[in-house]
Amino acid sequence: MEGFPILTLITFVPVLGMLIILLLPGEQKQTIKITSLAATGVQLVLAVILLAGYNYNAGGVFQQGSFQFIEKARWIEIEGFDWLGTLKVDYFMGIDGISMPMVLLTALISFIACISSWNINKSPKGYFALFLLLDTGMMGVFVSLDFFLFYIFWELMLLPMYFLIGIWGGPRKEYAAIKFFIYTLLGSVFMLLVMIGLYFSASETLADGSQVFTFNLLALMDKANYTADGILSPFNPDNLRFIAYIALFAGFAIKIPMFPFHTWLPDAHVEAPTPISVILAGVLLKMGTYGILRISFPIFPEITKDLAWYIALFGMVNIIYGAFVALAQKDFKKLIAYSSVSHMGYVLLGMASLTTAGINGAIFQMFNHGTITAMLFLIVGVIYDRAHTRGINDFGGLASQMPIYTGFVTVAFFAAIGLPSMSGFISEALVFIGAFGVEEIRVLTIISTLGILLGAAYMLWTLQRIFFGNLNEKWSGLKDLTAREYVMLVPLTIIIIFLGVYPSAMLDIMNTSVNTLVDFVTIKVGNISVSGLLN
């Protein structure tokens, strides 16, 4: 497969599908749907091919040599500004153990969300075109190794999301869409500033020996590339790296979403149509934590170490606060949205530990939260499609009416609770193992364990209110799962249980990279020449 641009393909296959859809007449709803299913299906197949060719022993993170499926080409080159030198941007893609799980997750969730979109009948042409564009944006973020390219994909995903919520959403869709858009855009602005600051602080030596400023993330990780007086250069005594770190972190934190930047999430989820909620919770939220791991940690290792305690603190707040607020919700979808806030807190806590177990747990939790929460939102969608209400207290006794559905709900709920034998348990346990091992954040970790109690409380209470008790006569007409819904839920269930029993299948993918990252951030602290334990 040498030289075959598989990452470009996996990223742009959806756009290809989009172009076809745009050429189709809008009345051919079925063709449009099949086209987008095919596009996401091909993407999923490509992801599996990637996995098959994936080298488990390659570290990546900061070493270009051990990234896989690399594609690198000069993309933009503008010469002639004296003060700027040569502006050059690379089209630079590659994956390592941090991005591989996210690529798999994106392909999987997009495919399932596409199936879930089958009952979208309001101008499907526009919907599926935007949906596929969104897919490309997400995938691009996870495979980019150039900050500029990363940023472009990051922004690319914003616009379709805005329209998908704003047009196909619920009653308050405009409010939710604008809130999402502006909030995320605010984060992007911070990111843009840091990106430009980094660009002017580091240079890369080209093949012909000339020095140029760079957006190359790997070059930005190497301290040797920084100029003496760059605004974000560690060698500049008056550098603004600390402020830049905070700004960049805020940009990512909005996406996670981290307390107190999380309030766009419940609104966006409640208003978004089911498949978009699935994408939002399943993939989009991970872009924040992925960005922190891919960009913040290795580019600013020394500040990461200084601020780890605060990241852990925010993780703890997310876990506990999210769980408490979830407990008070009466809207099923809003409850799941807040449970996401709580579950993403584990990711923050695990990352903040800066240990192999903790970061493995964090990335694994990103994947698991993706599958579990996707399942939860699909479940909400199933009942909303039938009953047109999401009020938890409106239901009762559905277990007798919809036994198969109830079975899947039970699996998903217990997965969210972190029941052993399901994937969520492993990632949460690894997060706790990692975080507990670090003395500074041990107390925060102990407080965070309350989250597993509160999580069980809101989930079981919801299960009881919706499914147990006597059946409300109003719902005696509800049908159990359709074949299409079954097809969406079964693969997720299998993955959740498979990874709960055999977590190494996923952990082995990320492990080498996580060790590399931990070594790079905590021991090398960005000085690539300093040899850590791994070399």
Binding site: K179, I182, Y183, F259, P260, H262, T263, W264, Y321, F324, V325, A326, L327, A328, Q329, T355, T356, A357, N360, G397, A399, S400, F414, L419, P420, S421, F425, I426, F432, I433, F436, G437, T445, I446, L450, I452, L453, A456, A457, L460, W461, Q464, F467, F468, G469, N470, P503, S504, L507, D508, N511, T512, N515, V518, D519, T522, I523, G532, L533, L534
Partner: protein, 696 residues
């Protein structure tokens, strides 16, 4: 039989019920007889566990058989080095015995359930749940490490949740299931943190690896307090699962589940898992941790026994009795009587499972009546159930010739010695009081239910002895409640094979200065020791001195309890109602379970819900309010900008235009089209220019 085949067999036993679960849950609806598959599987598991038990105890009496594998491999981790997580199973004597106990009771309960659950609309699902429970329970029994213990610990929690709430149409049932899961999670959090302490320090979950290092003087974070904390925190798991005070509140409610489930899960096996856990961590308990455990156990057994005195629901009495007996076992481990705790676990498993199945038989006969005030005189109608029930009652009351006497007597002697050696007299006082109370409330139950005249004639007339599927398990369990299975000498368990030969105490691994003086320490390096060798000479001396006084005292107290029960309920020499009237506050205190549920309701539950509402309000009004406020301010600012733009900026533009216009207007007058006027203008202009530039 070789080690490998024993280990393979136990793995087969472990996974058989899981297969049963998977098959029955998926196809149970289509094939109505499929539950028999699950029953058959349990039969095979029982047979295999007997085979394992025989060969393990004869071929490898003091050897632990271990099989383990790498579950997660983190590779070469910075600053730590090679880092792996192993899972595995371990067959030692206590796991062998537990294997037998669990599969036997599970099998009997399966048989019993065929008749008891007959006609239930979710009949096959019930058997599937029993399958997943048995699988999880066997996992706890076989694990050789803490992580797997925790994993299966949670899984039994799940199956318990599913089975308690099996009749989920009833709100009380689904409430009880939820309560059980959540209360257990409280304990599990403690257990998890305890495990984290050990793992952080030793980088392994495996019991033996941890203990080897501990024995070499390597203790968590080089601190006795952390060591004690780890012990107590892991014990928290047992507090939840074994329903110890203050987390005992879930178990009585768990009686909402089908009665055979109560027998299997909430009397014999799952709730004993806590005791089993303490046995597993027994060697790493410091004196402080042991004392803590002993006190918790003693308080539990006392509190529960006092509550059992006044309950009127047949299952509630048995539930509190279970809590009380579990307290006994926990206390027994706390005072260092390891062997008797485990012994009592086994004997209790049989007679308590019997008591619950017996109550199930009664409830079945009475058409789901559970209030003992509606019963009476049932011994004529249910002769087999009655006889079996009576045997279990004699066993639990500690009457000689029955199994409970042997194990209970050992525990009581242990507490007495403990009190004498350490000065903690509260523990033996409570434990002997509980012996009295137990005999009383159990005989109260038997007399009210089975003796005297029927109080509800109609229900009595419809009552009938249960079918064979229900009576056979009762008979088997009754037979197992007789002393002969454990020792040939009915008053001295030490003479038998069970406690003296099969059960040996593992050597303590904590540093000497953190042990009780009576936990002897000059071990030869072997892992297991007989009961005599584990304790100091002083302890053994005390034990020999106090054994018979303890035995006599326990027989006397048990007899007294039985006598009072007869006086009050059989011969009606003492009127219980008058007694209740005279001690009204005490009676109410017992009847209302010490108001502990109410206390929790008004503190923890209401507190949590109130806090969640406050935070939710905070979230939507303050945090989101700030977001919307920012948006609002932005819009206000935008409007102001708009006004500024409209009137000032645009005003300026318009003003400029206006000025231009004005000037234009002014100059327009000159554009009159009259040549003379232009000429005059030119001349004037030239004159002015000449004047200004003055070229001359």
């Amino acid at each position: 039989m070789s080690e490998v085949s024993l280990l393979s067999l136990s793995l087969i036993i472990l996974f058989l019920p899981l297969i049963g679960f998977a098959v029955v849950i998926h196809f149970g609806k289509r094939f109505s007889k499929l539950y028999l598959f699950e029953v058959a599987i349990m039969g095979i598991a029982l047979l295999l566990s007997i085979i394992i038990g025989y060969f393990k105890l004869t071929d490898f009496p003091i050897k632990d058989l271990v099989y383990s594998f790498n579950w997660i491999d983190f590779g070469n981790v910075p600053l730590i080095g090679e880092f792996k997580i192993e899972l595995g199973i371990q067959i030692d004597n206590i796991s062998t015995i537990m294997l037998f106990v669990v599969t036997l009771i599970s099998f009997l309960v399966h048989i019993f359930s065929i008749a008891y659950m007959h006609g239930d609309k979710r009949f096959s699902r019930y058997f599937a749940y029993l399958g997943i429970f048995t699988f999880s329970m066997l996992g706890i029994v076989l694990t050789h490490n803490l992580l797997m213990m925790y994993i299966f610990w949670e899984l039994v929690g799940l199956s318990s949740y599913l089975l308690i709430g099996f009749w989920y149409e009833k709100k009380s049932a689904s409430d009880a299931g939820k309560k059980a899961f959540l209360v257990n999670r409280v304990g599990d959090i403690g257990m998890f943190i305890g495990i984290l302490i050990l793992f952080t320090h030793y980088k392994t979950f495996t019991f033996d690896t941890i203990y080897t290092q501990m024995a070499a003087g390597n203790i968590p974070f080089d601190s006795f307090s952390w060591l004690t904390a780890a012990g107590i925190l892991i014990f928290m798991g047992a507090v939840g699962k074994s329903a110890q005070f203050p987390l005992h509140v879930w178990l009585p409610d768990a009686m909402e589940g089908p009665t055979p489930v109560s027998a299997l899960i909430h009397a014999a096996t799952m709730v004993a898992a806590g005791v089993y856990l303490i046995s597993r961590i027994f060697v790493m308990l410091t004196a402080d941790a042991m004392l803590f455990i002993a006190v918790v156990g003693a308080i539990t057994s006392f509190v529960a026994a006092t509550i059992a005195l006044t309950q009127n629901d047949i299952k509630k009495v048995l539930a509190y009795s279970t809590v009380s007996q579990l307290g006994y076992m926990v206390m027994s481990l706390g005072v260092g009587a390891y062997v008797f705790a485990f012994f009592h676990l086994v004997t209790h498993a049989f007679f308590k499972a019997g008591l619950f199945l017996g109550s199930g038989s009664v409830i079945h006969a009475m058409h789901h009546e559970q209030d003992i005030r509606e019963m009476g005189g049932l011994r004529k109608k249910l002769p087999i159930t009655y006889s079996a029930f009576l045997i279990y009652t004699l066993a639990i009351s500690g009457v000689p010739l029955f199994s409970g006497f042997l194990s209970k007597d050992g525990i009581l002697a242990g507490t007495l010695v403990f009190g004498n050696l350490t000065g903690h007299w509260l523990i033996p006082i409570l434990s002997f009081t509980v012996a009295l109370l137990t005999a009383f409330y159990m005989f109260r139950l038997v007399i009210i239910t089975f003796h005297g005249e029927p109080r509800n004639k109609e229900k009595y007339d419809h009552a009938h002895e249960s079918p064979l599927a229900m009576t056979v398990p009762l008979i088997v369990l009754a037979v197992l409640s007789v002393f002969i299975w454990y020792t040939p000498n009915p008053i001295n368990p030490d003479a038998g094979w069970f406690s003296a030969k099969w059960l040996q105490t593992p050597a303590s691994v904590v540093p000497q200065e953190t042990r009780f003086d009576f936990m002897q320490n000059d071990f030869s390096g072997a892992k297991y020791y007989s009961n005599e060798m584990i304790h100091s000479e002083t302890y053994m001396h005390e034990l020999h001195t106090l054994h018979y006084p303890a035995m006599i005292l326990s027989i006397l107290l048990g007899g007294l309890g039985i006598l009072i029960a007869y006086l009050m309920y059989q011969w009606k020499k003492i009127n219980p109602d008058k007694l209740a009237e005279r001690f009204k506050p005490l009676y109410n205190f017992s009847l209302n379970k010490w108001y502990i549920d109410e206390l929790y309701h008004y503190t923890f539950i209401s507190g949590t819900i109130a806090l969640s509402k406050i935070l939710s309000w905070f979230d939507s009004n303050i945090i989101d309010g700030a977001v919307n406020g920012t948006a609002y301010i932005t819009r206000v600012f935008a409007n102001v900008s708009n006004l500024f733009d409209k009137y000032i900026v645009d005003g300026l533009v318009n003003f400029t235009a206006f000025i231009s216009g004005f000037i234009g207007m002014s100059f327009r007058r000159f554009q009159s089209g009259k040549v003379q006027a232009y000429l005059v203008l030119v001349v004037f202009s030239v004159l002015i220019l000449l004047l200004v530039f003055n070229p001359f």
